[in-house]
Structures are given as C-alpha cells and as structure tokens.
Symmetry: C2
Subunit: 422 residues, 2 copies
C-alpha cells in the first residue's frame, strides 16, 4: 500500500462532477419533493443505465452485463489475470424514494475510478464498478436479486415468477431487458459461472441519524442486521356489508387487524433495536360494501442478533394463527438474510483512508440490508457510509450534501488504490 | 282493481323464459364459481344493456335513457298522459358478485310486462321497466347515483369527480357511455327535468337468510335501514423499514389499525343489528420495506334506527382522532341515507297479490340499501323480496332458484296490473 498514491487518488475526486452526475440521474424518474421513482427493469432504469454507460465509455472503461442484468464497468489492472476489486451499489429506487439511496454508491465508484486514472495511479488488480439489479425489491420482491444470484446464494431463476403490481413477472421483464441490452457484451454470472472477486466495497448513505448526530463524516460499517420478510394471507368470505350479521361473517380485514395487533405485541422491544413493519396491504375485493374475502399483508422484521431473529421470526406463524377468529391464514417466508459481520481488511482500509483524509469516523452497523450482505459470503466486503440528513431515506426528502458525498468518494478512491494493489 | 286481470297476468309469467334471460345476462362478466363481475359503464355493462334493449324492442316497448344513463323500456297505457308505474332495479354487479343481485329485478319487470301483454291485460297507466345506473358503487362510490339523481336527492353532476381504481372519473366515463348510446332517444331526468312517477316497485333477492329460514316465498319489504359511508385518511410519514427506530416513526398502517380497533368498540352491538364494515384499504406507497405514509380505509355503517345511526355515526370522527398516536386523520362522510318506511299502498298490493297466488309472505325490512330508498322520496314505493340461499349475496355463490324467481315475477305482474289501473 502506497499512502502517496492513495492521497493522490483521493485528491483527484471532483465534488462538482460527482454532484452533477447525481443530479442528472435524479432527473430520471423525478417525483414531487425532490424524490425519485425509478423501478428496476423499466424504461427509466434503462435510461439511467445508458447514461452511466456513456460516462464509462468516455473514460475508456469496458462495459458488460451478466444474465441477471448486473452491470459492470471495468478499469483494467496492470496484472489483468488477478481477481478484481468490485465497488458500487444499485440504481433502482423505492416507489417514493430519494436521489441518493443506491445510485450514489455507483456514481462514487465511477468517480473514484476516474480519480485514480486522472491521478495516474495504476493498480495491479482490475477494478470493476458494479450496479446490481433490483436491490430495493420495490417492484419485484424480494430485493438484492442481482447480488444474491451473483454470490450463488440462490439459483438465478429463483425469482422468475415474482410479479409486480401489474402482474408482469420478473423473468419476462428480465428477458425483455436483456434483449434491449443485447449490444452490451455478456459476462459470466459471479461465482456461479466465473470467479470470486478479491474484495467488494459499497458506498451508501447511512439511512439513519447517527453520523449526523455525532457530526462525523464517514461511517465504517461493521456489519448488517438480519432481515426476514413474510407475507400473510388471511382468507375469509365476502358478504353483503348491509345484510350479513357480524356474528356470521368471516371478515378478512378484521382478522388481519387482529393479527397485526398480536404481532405488535410479539415484536415489542423496549430498547427499540428491533424493526417490525407492516407496509403493504392488499384487500380483495376491496369494495367498501363487500366484506373482505382476502387480505394479504407484508411483514418486514429485522434484528442484529441472530437468536432474536430466529426466535421471534419463527413465532410469527403461531401468533398469526392464534389471532384468527373466523378466517384462516397462510404465512409464507419470502426472504431470510442472516446478520453478517464485515471483513476486517476492508474495514481497516476504510478507517485508515478516512483518517488520512482528516475525516471523522464512526464504526456502526447497518440497519438496512444491502448487496454487500451477499457479497460478504464470497469475498472480503465492506461499506462506507456518509451522513443522511435527519436520518431519512426511502422518501423524497432523503438528502446528503455534495461535500459529504465527495468525502465518501475520496475515501473510496484511497481504499481502491489500497485494495487493488494487494 | 280487477282480480281476474291480475291472475291472468301472473299466469302468463314464463319461468323458463325468465331463467334463460337471467343466465344469458350472467354470461356477461362471468367469473369463477358462477359469479359475475359487471361494473357500471364498462363495455360489459353496455353489452348487457344492448341485450336487454333487444328483448324490449322485440316486445314493442319504447326505449329511452336519461342523462345519468338510467335506461327505460316503456309499455304504453290506455291513458298515456297519466304518470307511469316504474318497476325494475339495476344491472351492475359487485366486483366479486353474483348472478341475481339487481339484474333479476330488471328482468322480472320485463317478464311481468311481457306477461301483461301476452295475457291481453291493458293498463290505464304506462308501465316503465327501469335499470338504474351504478347502484352498487363498486366501481364509482357511492352507489345509487342513477336513482339519487332521478329523485332529485343530489344534483346530477355531484359525482362527476368520483374515480375508479384506475383513476378514471365517473363524469368522463358517463359522457363516453352516453356517446356510445347516442342512438337511443334521450328523456328528461326524473323529477329534476320531468314528472314524478305514480309508483315504483323493485323486485330483488333478499340478501339475507329470513325467507329461506321460514320457508316463505315472498318478502313484503317494510322499509330500508339507513346507511352512512365514510372514508378515513391516515397521514403519517414514509421511512426506511430497516433503519427508522419505531419510536420515531409516523406509521400510517399502525394508526389505521388502532383506529379500526377503536371503531370496533364504538360499533359493538350485542344484538347484532348494527352493520359495521371496513372493506376497502389503500396503502401508500404500499412497498413492504417502506413505512406507510398514508392509509385510506372505508367505513360502511348501517342501522334501522335513525337515532343510533346519528349518534354512533357522528362519533366516528372523534374515535378515529382519539386513536391517532403519531399520524393525523381526515374523516370524510361520502354517503348518508336515512332509514325509510315504504308506502302502505304498495306494501298492501304486494301482500294481496302474493296471497292470491297462494304464496307465503313475510313482512321484513331490508338490510341492504336499494334504489327504492331514493324513489320512495318522490312516489309511493315498495319492494318484493325472494329467498337467497344461505342468505348469501355480493358473492359468486349467491343463488335463488327459477321457481322462486318466477313466483316473484308473478307477484310483480299482478301488482303492476293493480297499480297501473289505479
């Protein structure tokens, strides 16, 4: 590791250039209140990817996609046969999302690679900027499909039947997307069809309040809490809202309300570490004067402790069934990601680079899951956090200023100059 | 009143013909389980109306529509200047509805008029078979728009901005529909642009269990309980489901669940006379890992007692507001129909006609609201109920057999022979 090279790479990061690119991306799918709605595998997503590819080609990076449509922009190393260092994040957003979640990590990686090249800092290993497909899971559940497939966590066809709210399947939309990107060279899919990377670094906004509260610039992420997602389907019987006596009904809304109330008790946590969310509800027939025949609702449950995640997660089925009075319920687990701890090599590299830049650092876990959660299974991985104003994300008011984002990109440039020379 | 004419008209009712027409209508919008989904002002609705119009024209009835697309099939009286007797119901269905609710009332009226004509029973007054627009309110809320406008209960443009789940407005869809029926003569809109009818009779399935339980053929409907419909909008703040601490959230799903639970307590009725239903829920952004920013839910509240309807209905706002912990709520009343009592002349005519036919009768109130609720404001009105198997309606399994339906049409034919000669 050459501290001078690291400093030179960091110094070449251009705050205005990075911010300008971010704002141009934010225009694709812009929604009121400075937000972004850019679902994966849509025309908007493809516009954003083409914009990124154009910038990469201007820099002389080589572009490729794999069968999950994960997108790679490769900076060649002096020893091309070595396993590459990957850096990036995702480009899709939540339906009512912000301008920074995901996309900044991809643009920070591009900025860091550009800085390395402009500073004339060569690396032994190749560096690949990566944009993973469907991290958010907002259109097709679950999230992190691209990185899960890349890491061999699940077979690549696992989610083909996942549907969006219009009934389109992930498999069909992916095939359509790949046909529209047929001009881009195809590459093997991660460790399933190819080799593991040497390391993976993901820059991301914190999505929590801690860095801002402590007035620090860089979060050195120690790990990611575990997540378990469920769908609960409550099945009752439709009936006439004006005639059917309440004692004879099988009202799916009423039993769903009872189930959510019982789950609140199960998930009660005086320390407020546990995250329990019911955020998606679909009622059928959803007509105000027909008693509900079916209610489907989602459960998003997260905790950093493996034991809590197992015990309370496994209790969901029993609690839901216990809440049913006249209806029946089916509980399906859709996603289960264990808590992980990031590799020490990457954490140390981030911490040292930040300190060398004179930036204040905080070691902290991630409350959100990220693609790094799956990459960490196949290579040393880590994340760089920058502050989120008011801790808000997944909302149009999500915000991180240009100076904080530039600081994050400088740290990444130095980390890449370090890791890609190991 | 000529009892012989009444008996001859009733005897000319053709059970198989009526059933055959009903089954042909049921094919338009057929859904699994013998159900029907035929929303108002759709192509399916128009197909059904054209099918009805064809049958009416074969009989020599004259066809007209008013500006709400209420459809009239006129049998001329010997004294055409007299106010007509109206008989009918509606042709739209619930989204997951059955084959009998509404449409049978229209076809029974057609069958009764055909029987009168075949039996050579002349009437002094004209008789008009009517199909009211949007009784169900399943696509555009509230229901009974056609009869409310006809009766001058609300101005005809009141619901122009009401939207369906795809964002189409009632006003625009009505205009489109009228353009597609421009070949049909236009008539004045009820008492708003014309004269009041002499009387109104609506045949309908009971939608409750009483006639079946007492093994009786004909319900002589005494009145209709009152209905109040509300929409509750709970406004919170979206946030990241993995990072936002629960104590800092404004989770609209959680406060909506609290509101529904509190409303259950307000609406508790040990006698099970009160009808309280939450059957429509819309969550925004409705993404499983974004805390809900907004929840809208419907309230359908009914009771035969005017005082209960006023007191508990007026308490809804307070109870909802009291349930809010972190969110705010807006409660909007969308529909308010007072309980009504049907006119004695029509009730007596129905009861006598049924007994003359040797049918068992039961006097009972209606739990559902009907177009007759609004017609009763402008002319003597009444309803003829026939048994509903298991009391089920607003569901594909809704069923009434051909013999019961023929009995209902026979009573109607006799009632029309009576009322249209007064």
């Amino acid at each position: 590791m050459d501290a001078t090279d690291q400093a030179r790479a960091a110094a070449a990061v251009d705050e205005a250039r990075q911010w300008d690119r971010l704002m141009r991306m934010a225009a694709l799918g812009a929604i009121p209140g400075d937000g972004v709605n850019r679902a994966c595998l849509t025309d908007l997503d493809r516009h954003a990817r083409r914009l990124l590819i154009g910038w990469a080609q201007d820099l002389g990076l080589s572009v490729s996609v794999d069968r999950l449509a994960n997108l790679f922009l490769r900076h060649e190393g002096t020893e091309p046969g070595l396993a590459p260092v990957l850096a990036g994040s995702h480009m899709d957003s939540q339906p009512n999302g912000g301008r920074f979640d995901g996309i900044w990590g991809v643009l920070a990686a591009l900025e860091a690679v550009q800085a390395l090249r402009q500073a004339g800092v060569a690396t032994r290993r190749p560096i690949e900027v990566v944009a993973w497909t469907n991290e958010e899971g907002g259109r097709f559940a679950p999230g992190c499909m691209g990185s899960m497939a890349y890491a061999g966590y699940a077979p690549p066809e696992t989610w083909d039947a996942s549907t969006d709210t219009e009934g389109l399947t992930f498999g069909a939309e992916l095939a359509k997307h790949l046909a529209l990107e047929a001009d881009i060279p195809r590459r093997p899919l991660g460790v399933v069809e190819g080799e593991a990377p040497f390391a993976y670094v993901e820059p991301h906004i914190e999505q929590g309040p801690r860095l801002e509260a402590e007035d620090l610039e860089i979060g050195v992420v120690t790990g990611i809490q575990g997540s378990r997602w469920f769908t609960v389907e409550v099945n009752g019987k439709s009936d006439h809202a004006g005639t059917a006596p309440l004692r004879l009904r099988k009202d799916a809304v009423q039993d769903a309300v009872r189930a959510i109330t019982a789950l609140n008790a199960l998930m009660h946590d005086p320390e407020d570490v546990l995250r329990f969310t019911v955020a998606r509800i679909e009622v059928s027939p959803n007509s105000s004067n027909s008693v509900a025949e079916r209610v489907r609702f989602s459960i998003d449950f997260r905790h950093p402790d493996r034991t809590v995640l197992a015990e309370r997660g496994d209790a969901i089925e029993r609690v839901v069934q216990g809440a049913m009075t006249t209806c029946t319920a089916v509980v399906t687990e859709r996603f289960n990601a264990a808590p992980i701890t990031f590799d020490r090599m990457v954490r140390d590299s981030i911490e040292k680079a930040a300190r060398a830049e004179g930036l204040g650092t905080l070691r902290l876990p991630s409350g959100a899951f990220h693609d790094a959660q799956f990459l960490s299974r196949i290579c040393p991985s880590g994340m760089i956090f920058v502050p989120s104003r008011n801790g808000v994300s997944h909302h149009p008011s999500e915000y991180t200023g240009p100076a904080h984002l530039a600081a994050g990109a400088r740290v990444l440039a130095a980390v890449l100059a370090d890791l890609a020379n190991r």
